[in-house]
Symmetry: C2
Subunit: 164 residues, 2 copies
């Protein structure tokens, strides 16, 4: 990787070989073609984005239109994968697994999106913040019963955790 | 794949090559060694399960202990990948992307778990339903602000959707 490391960041040597392979099953179309134009997070934009699923998987959409929300998995293929500690510009130094940064050993992002419509192999959704052309990896129904934890917290102190 | 297809199920021919590779970054330890023993869903058990992260990624856990909940991504490496329509025993025939079944083109499962504790590279969590030994792919902080949609629905009719 040619990118520089910022002060405080730590890179590791990754394994020589991958353990499994994934297929790109489609592409995500968004209004954003440069990283700096992407919303800061997925709730930062009401833009309707488009999922173009490969025709091969068309039948797999049966029933998807009955979901109000979906979980999308996609591959952040421009991100380096070797940083275990990162120093984001806007926040404190953190371990990679405490961040949603695309920089991680497996740069698979997840986003919860609102489904606007399904037409053939094209899905219209709201709630994405990724670059135009991002490869799609999976579509899942969002089940509030297991996926929604409204009182979850990030940034607790040990004392706060103990009190809960 | 040797498994039979049930009536109504549809298999497709997958691409000849993968588009990207992933690393297994650790293993998930659960009480369940056979599929039929796994809970029906992640909220079906209060069992404390264990994540054994590879030592290589130890530093990436910095800050994770401040999260009450995490999203875990893991690889369902025993699942076939070519079914686009499935006929689960307990429910109606559905497209793969309307199901959370491990059977999908990219068998990457996600689970929202409650973090019980972190000790070195071992995490104790509640909320898993996978087999013992399942390969871990990623750990992410769960942000209620973008990940929690308590009123999401699966199984809506078109009329219900229009009314909303």
């Amino acid at each position: 990787m040619s990118e520089d490391i910022r002060a405080g960041e730590i890179a590791v040597t990754l394994p020589d070989t991958f353990d499994a392979g994934i297929y790109f099953i489609g592409r995500i179309r968004t209004p954003w073609t440069r990283r700096e134009d992407c919303p800061k997070n997925a709730r930062g934009s009401d833009a309707v984005c488009t999922i173009e699923l490969e025709q091969r998987y068309a039948a797999a959409l049966e029933g998807v239109a009955t979901c109000t929300h979906l979980v999308l998995l996609y591959f952040m293929d421009r991100a380096r994968r070797d940083l275990v500690v990162q120093a984001p510009r806007r926040s404190a130094r953190q371990g990679t697994f405490a961040l949603r940064s695309p920089v991680r050993p497996n740069p698979i992002a997840i986003s919860v999106v609102r489904l606007v419509g399904v037409a053939g192999t094209t899905l219209s959704v709201v709630g994405l913040d990724c670059l135009d052309g991002t490869p799609l990896v999976d579509i899942k129904p969002y089940f509030a019963s297991v996926d929604a934890v409204p009182d979850a917290v990030v940034g607790w102190s040990k004392a706060e955790r103990a009190e809960r």
